[in-house]
C-alpha cells in the first residue's frame, strides 16, 4: 500500500502532556516537519519557555535549552552567537513573550538576531491555571480578571507582531492561525519561510500563531476554534507585517 502520511522523525514518540484539543501539538508537528524538510534538524537547537510548553523539549529529537520565564530570546542569542551555523528557535507563549519577556523579545528582534521565534498567542496563561495575559481580550473572564478584562484598568490586548514590525531589523513578521486545515497549511508555510530565512542567514523571523486554550477558556476544542475565529481574529488580524526579502513571493 502506498504511504500517504508519516510522522516526522524530528518528533519524539513521547506521550503528550498537553490537554485534549490543544493546538500545541499541531504547531509542534509543523515545526518538526519544517526542520526535517529543510534538512537542518541535526543542527537545530530549540529554546523552551516557561508555561505549558516548558516541556516542548520532550517532543523534539533535537538539542534543547530550557530558559527562564520570558528569557528565551536572550538565551537563543547566546546560543546563536556561539554556534552561528545552528538553526536556533524559541517557542514561547503570550505570558512568557508578551509580559515578562517584553524587553528580551523587542531587543533580540531589534538586534536582528538570526533566530526564529514561534509565538503562541491564546490570550491566557495556561500552565498556571488560566490567568489574564497581555493578549487577553477586553471583557474576557480569567482567574485574575473574574469580572472580565477592564480596558480602563487592565489595558487592552497587546499586538506583538505589529510592534515588532515597527523595528528596522526584523526580516519576517507574520501572524497565522491553526483553526482550520487550510490555515494549518498556511502556518506550515510561514514557519518554513522563517527557518529558510534563518538558514540563509537573512535575519530575525517572527511567527505569531493564534491558538486556543480549550481548558482555560472552558470550551470544547471545536467551540474554542469557532470562538477564536469570531473573537480573536478581529483583534489579532492575520497577515504578514514585514517581509523584507519577499520570501512569501519567492
Amino acid at each position: 500500500m502506498k504511504q500517504v502520511f508519516g510522522k516526522t522523525n524530528v518528533l519524539s514518540a513521547n506521550p503528550t502532556h498537553y490537554c485534549p484539543g490543544c493546538d500545541h501539538g499541531v504547531v509542534h508537528r509543523l515545526i518538526a516537519e519544517s526542520l526535517e524538510e529543510l534538512e537542518v534538524a541535526d543542527r537545530s537547537i530549540g529554546v523552551a519557555p516557561v508555561g505549558c510548553s516548558v516541556f516542548a523539549y520532550d517532543y523534539f529529537n533535537i538539542d534543547f535549552n530550557q530558559a527562564a520565564h520570558g528569557r528565551a530570546p536572550a538565551v537563543a542569542t547566546g546560543i546563536k552567537r556561539t554556534r552561528p551555523d545552528s538553526i536556533v528557535f524559541t517557542y514561547q507563549g503570550d505570558g512568557d513573550l508578551a509580559a515578562i519577556g517584553t524587553a528580551e523579545i523587542i531587543h533580540a528582534a531589534n538586534r536582528g538576531e538570526n533566530i526564529t521565534v514561534v509565538f503562541i498567542n491564546n490570550g491566557i496563561y495556561g500552565m498556571t491555571g488560566g490567568q489574564m495575559a497581555p493578549t487577553t481580550l477586553v471583557g474576557m473572564k480569567t482567574q485574575t480578571s473574574p469580572y472580565g478584562r477592564d480596558a480602563a484598568t487592565m489595558g487592552s490586548p497587546i499586538r506583538v507582531s505589529e510592534i515588532i514590525a515597527t523595528l528596522e531589523s526584523p526580516a519576517y513578521v507574520t501572524r497565522v492561525t491553526v483553526n482550520t486545515i487550510a490555515n494549518q497549511i498556511k502556518t506550515k508555510k510561514a514557519i518554513k519561510n522563517a527557518f529558510t530565512l534563518q538558514k540563509e542567514k537573512k535575519g530575525f523571523s517572527f511567527v505569531e500563531i493564534v491558538c486556543i486554550c480549550p481548558t482555560n477558556w472552558g470550551k470544547k476544542p471545536t467551540d474554542a476554534h469557532k470562538w477564536l475565529t469570531e473573537n480573536m481574529l478581529p483583534v489579532f488580524p492575520l497577515g504578514t507585517f514585514k517581509d523584507i526579502h519577499g520570501i512569501e513571493k519567492a
Binding site: V47, R71, V75, G78, R83, I106
Partner: protein, 358 residues
C-alpha cells in the same frame, strides 16, 4: 611577557581573552564599565563576540545560552546589576554550566553609591538566587590577581561545571598596577560533548540543558548530586590550601588579622607596623570565599589568642570566621561601610584596643 601598567578591570578583560573566552554579554554600570569597554574593543580583534544586552537580566541569560552551547563566556557588573543577574545564576547553577561572573562591588543597599565596597559577601557566598546551590567565589587583591584568577576561574568553571564569581571591588577595578599577563590557554568548545550544537560523530543522543526536574524524587536526586559536587569543590581547595588562602606571619601570631580583596593589602601594612611596635600580628587572606577555608582558622584558633576581621561592610565574612573558630578565641570586627576604605592607621588603633584593653 613584559610588565604593563593596567587598570584592574582591563587586566581582567585581557586575561579572559588569554583564557580562551570569546563571548561577553553585559550591561553598563559603574565602577565596572572599563571591563565591557575594553572587551568591546578587543573581542572583535580576536573573532570574539561582544553584545551589549538590554539589561543585566538579558545579559546573564545570554551567558546561560552561550554556556549551554559550549562557549567560554563571561559577564560582569557591579552590585545592583549582580542582584538582577541572580535569576540567571540560579538557572546556570541548576543546569550545571560553566561561566565567569564578575562583580566589581560598589556601595549598597539599593542604588547606594559608586564607591568601593565589600557588602555583597553574603549574596556571593550564600547563593544569591533561589534554590539549593553554590557558586565558587574568588577574591583577588591586586591587578595581577585580577588577571591570574581569571584564567584559574575559567578552568575551575569547566572542571566543576559550575558558575564562578569573581568578587572584586571599585578599588581593584579602577586602580592601575604593573601586571605580567599570564600565558594564553587553548580552548576548544567541541571538547564539551554535552553542549548544544555539538555535532561530533560520536554524538549518539540529542543534548539537553535544563534546570527543571518535575518529580520530587528527580529534583531531590539532582540537588544531592549538586551537593556532592560542592563537596568535591570543597575537598579540592582543602587539598590545595595555597590556592584558597594566603597566610602571612601567622606562625607566631598572637593577633590574626583577617581580610580579603583590597582590605588584605592594607592589613599587610598593618601587620608590618604592628611587628615594628612589638605586637605579634599575622594575616589570613582568603583567596577563595566559597568554599571558605575554615580549617585554616580552626587550626589557628589553637595557637593565636585573638582574631580581628576587617571588611568594607558592617560585618559579613566575620560570621564565617566565627563559625570556623568555634568560640575557641574571641573574634573582633572592624568595618567601614557606604563606600569608605579604612586606613592602616584606623585599623592599627583597633589592634591596639584589642591587644591593650584599658
Amino acid at each position: 611577557m613584559a610588565k604593563v601598567l593596567m587598570k584592574g578591570n582591563e587586566a581582567l578583560g585581557e586575561a579572559a581573552i588569554l583564557a580562551g573566552c570569546r563571548y561577553y554579554f553585559g550591561y553598563p554600570i559603574t565602577p565596572q564599565s572599563e571591563l565591557p569597554a575594553y572587551l568591546a574593543k578587543r573581542l572583535p580583534q580576536v573573532d570574539g563576540v561582544f553584545v551589549q544586552a538590554e539589561s543585566e537580566v538579558a545579559a546573564i541569560n545570554m551567558v546561560y545560552g552561550a554556556a549551554s552551547a559550549g562557549a567560554r563566556v563571561m559577564t560582569s557588573s557591579s552590585s545592583p546589576g549582580i542582584s538582577l543577574k541572580q535569576e540567571g545564576i540560579s538557572y546556570i547553577a541548576g543546569a550545571e554550566l560553566p561561566c565567569l561572573i564578575v562583580n566589581v562591588m560598589r556601595g549598597g543597599p539599593g542604588l547606594g553609591n559608586i564607591n568601593p565596597s565589600q557588602s555583597d559577601y553574603w549574596q556571593a557566598t550564600r547563593g544569591g538566587g533561589h534554590g539549593d546551590y553554590r557558586t565558587l567565589v574568588m577574591a583577588p587583591n591586586s591587578v595581577q590577581e585580577m588577571a591570574d584568577f581569571t584564567l584559574a576561574a575559567f578552568e575551575y568553571a569547566d572542571r566543576f561545571k559550575n558558575p564562578v564569581l569573581m568578587l572584586s571591588d571599585g578599588v581593584l577595578g579602577q586602580m592601575m598596577e604593573p601586571v605580567v599577563m599570564p600565558a594564553p590557554k587553548d580552548y576548544d568548545m567541541d571538547s564539551k560533548k554535552w553542549s548544544l550544537g555539538y555535532t561530533g560523530k560520536d554524538k549518539t543522543a540529542r543534548n539537553l540543558c535544563t534546570s527543571i526536574f518535575m518529580g520530587q524524587e528527580e529534583l531531590e536526586e539532582h540537588n544531592w548530586s549538586l551537593y556532592q559536587k560542592y563537596q568535591v569543590i570543597t575537598d579540592f581547595f582543602k587539598a590545595n590550601k595555597d590556592l584558597a588562602v594566603e597566610e602571612y606571619l601567622c606562625d607566631d601570631a598572637e593577633v590574626v588579622l583577617v581580610g580579603y580583596g583590597i582590605i588584605s593589602r592594607i592589613l599587610k601594612t598593618v601587620v608590618e607596623k604592628c611587628r615594628k611596635r612589638g605586637i605579634k600580628a599575622g594575616l589570613v587572606r582568603p583567596k577563595v570565599l566559597w568554599p571558605f577555608p575554615s580549617d585554616v582558622f580552626a587550626k589557628l584558633a589553637d595557637k593565636a589568642s585573638k582574631f580581628l576581621v576587617v571588611e568594607m561592610s558592617y560585618g559579613q565574612m566575620v560570621e564565617d570566621v566565627k563559625l570556623a573558630v568555634e568560640g575557641k578565641k574571641p573574634v573582633y570586627f572592624f568595618g567601614r561601610t557606604g563606600g569608605a576604605v579604612p586606613s592602616d592607621f584606623e585599623i592599627l588603633n583597633e589592634v591596639d584596643k584589642i591587644v591593650r584593653p584599658d
